[in-house]
């Protein structure tokens, strides 16, 4: 699925958060969005997954304008792993993942055997098969995050939007989550804090600062010490390993 945004603008009151964000995300591309806190990464993603209505600009999914699609249509095309949030009620892990099947269901449809299979498969993908009857609220933050990813996987969409998905995960699961997502053969748009992770997994990186796109391109193009200093105000050294991968090392000043 390709996503096109034309001059997306968002302002809260008089404070502009996003200025004219225009992007063209190609089918099956893995796009990472980097930028400091408050640079507008989440805001941009929220426009994509329709929780936020931009003040200006248009978004197209496969050429159809977003506002012409029902919420259900969008949910069939795009799954979301948002930033961690608490749920005040206890659902079992399996119930939580099964909710990913909601867009496929009418109000009165029950979950069928294949819905359970899809949900269990998604749980297996995130390594939580043994957790299906546990209560969601008794899990650790990282485990909850993986359950939410499983729910998004159970949605079986051709596009995945991730908002700092690796926040609560230990390094093993950070890599595992990104690998799972990478292997999906889906269009992925993800806000990422960890530049090394971004370097490993992204086909393209978009750097945001103060609601503007500062630069965009392959990890090799974007992740230079100059850009990192410009975006984050941090001094960093970027090494290119013999196999072409990047390694970013931060310097104390």
């Amino acid at each position: 699925m390709n996503i096109q945004t034309n001059n997306i603008q968002v302002a809260f009151g008089s404070k502009a958060i996003l200025h004219d964000i225009s992007l063209d995300i190609r089918d099956k591309e893995f796009v990472g969005i980097i930028g400091p806190n408050g640079s507008g990464k989440s805001t941009f993603l929220k426009c994509l997954y329709r929780v936020l209505q931009p003040n200006g600009g248009k978004i197209f999914f496969d050429g159809t304008e977003l506002s012409d699609l029902s919420h259900r249509d969008t949910a069939l095309k795009m799954a979301v792993v948002a930033q961690h949030s608490t749920v005040n009620f206890d659902f079992s892990v399996l119930e939580m993942v099964l909710m990913g099947r909601s867009p496929y269901k009418g109000l009165l449809d029950r979950d069928q055997i294949d819905d359970y299979e899809i949900a269990r498969h998604a749980l297996a993908q995130v390594g939580l098969s043994d957790f299906e009857s546990r209560n969601f609220n008794t899990l650790s933050g990282g485990e909850q995050q993986r359950v939410i990813l499983a729910r998004a996987l159970a949605q079986r969409t051709e596009c995945l939007v991730l908002d700092e998905p690796t926040n609560h995960l230990d390094i093993k699961y950070q890599l595992e989550l990104m690998t799972i997502v990478k292997r999906l053969d889906a269009t992925v748009v993800s806000a990422i804090h960890d530049l090394n992770l971004a370097a490993i997994y992204c086909d393209r990186i978009i750097a945001l600062k103060d609601g503007h796109i500062v630069c965009s391109g392959t990890p090799q193009d974007v992740l230079s010490s100059d850009t990192i200093r410009h975006i984050y105000g941090v001094s960093a050294m970027v090494q290119t390993l013999p196999d072409g991968r990047l390694n970013i090392i931060y310097n104390m000043e």
């Binding site: 979301v80 749920v87 009620f89 119930e95 909710m99 867009p103 949605q155």
Partner: protein, 348 residues
């Protein structure tokens, strides 16, 4: 699937328990009946040419058919209604501490009842004009809360709760003001009794209507379990799963208020059921509304039927107001649930 069969079996067991509770409720009170007596009296009616309210019926017939039967059925219906609207309110405001009265409905109903009792406003509504006025008060405040929460952007759970809080304060102070102005000791006593709730006024003629309203609402909410589940995850998650909850929330709120309005009309204020039963059920079978709603309905029915029976047999030759009894049973049960470690109300 095994789990599904288990739930169905559990449902039938609870229906059985409800039937037994109603039988027990028919037998206890100032006049005690044995099971065979009840059976005979009930059966006689079906073969008798007399209507159930015919003065030619014997006293036993009257006690069972005119006094106990309608109030027990009313208790069962209202218990189900209160428990389910508790479940719904908790989903609407996304807070496990909500009960059916959280949005200030109780204060609205009290204000309605107070002006009815003290000033005789609404006498034209007939015999149960206090109930009618309470119903009007309850509905008025629900729509008021809905209106306030729609001001300045979309309503959310916090706006709903705070709006309810504000309107509730206004209604309470108006009630106090009315009580102060009227200076009517007898009337104040009537209000106090009314606030304790009772099924003693239940009659056959209002039963079918309330039963239909409550049962249809419960079936409606049952059909909405998918959306109710999503509601607990929040509006943003619901949108990513394909539903905008905005309209649903308002419709649910109105229907739930309607149930409460009728409950208040028929039996006055009965607290705790709508908080206690949903939590008890969640504790045993979990949060999924597909099972939570029918089990809460049955649980609420059983609870109120038993409570009504107890009210009539705890004090010899007198009836304890059901509100008092429910708080007496409900509060300790609730505390017990609070201290039990493996149920966190999800609040951790």
């Amino acid at each position: 699937m095994l789990k599904r069969i288990g739930y169905t079996a559990g449902g039938f067991v609870l229906i059985g328990v409800l039937a037994v509770a109603i039988l027990w409720g028919l037998s206890v009170g100032t006049v005690q009946f044995s099971l065979s007596q009840i059976f005979n009296i009930v059966m006689d009616q079906f073969s008798s040419p007399l209507a159930i309210d015919d003065p030619l019926n014997g006293p036993e017939q009257t006690i069972i058919w005119l006094l106990r039967m309608p109030r027990l059925l009313m208790a069962a219906i209202i218990g189900a209604g209160l428990a389910v609207s508790g479940v719904i309110m908790q989903a609407i405001v996304k807070n496990p501490l909500a009960d059916p009265y959280i949005l200030g409905i109780s204060s609205g109903a009290s204000l309605g009842a107070t002006v009815a009792i003290l000033f005789g406003i609404g006498v034209m509504f007939g015999e149960n004009f206090v109930g009618v006025m309470a119903f009007i008060g309850a509905m008025a405040i629900s729509f008021g809360v809905l209106f306030i929460s729609n001001l300045g952007g979309r309503p959310n759970s916090v706006k709903l709760i705070l709006g309810g809080l504000a309107l509730s304060a206004v209604c309470s102070s108006f009630s106090s003001f009315v009580v102060y102005l009227a200076d009517d000791k007898e009337g104040i006593q009537t209000i106090t009794y009314w606030l304790m709730g009772s099924f003693a006024g239940a009659k056959w003629d209002m039963l079918p209507f309330i039963a239909v309203v409550v049962l249809v609402s419960i079936v409606f909410f049952w059909s909405q379990s998918r959306i109710l589940n999503m509601m607990l995850l929040g509006d943003e998650v619901a949108i990513t799963l394909g539903r905008d909850l905005h309209t649903y929330r308002q419709v649910y709120l109105i229907i739930s208020s309607l149930i409460i309005g009728f409950v208040v009309y028929a039996a006055g204020m009965i607290g705790f059921v709508g908080l206690l039963i949903p939590h008890l059920v969640r504790m045993t079978i979990g949060t999924n509304h597909w099972t939570l709603i029918p089990f809460s309905a049955l649980g609420g029915s059983i609870f109120l039927v038993i409570a009504d029976g107890l009210c009539r047999c705890i004090i010899p030759h007198a009836e304890l107001p059901i509100g008092i009894l429910i708080s007496l049973i409900g509060a300790p049960t609730f505390v017990y649930m609070l201290v039990r470690k493996n149920y966190g109300f999800g609040g951790e």
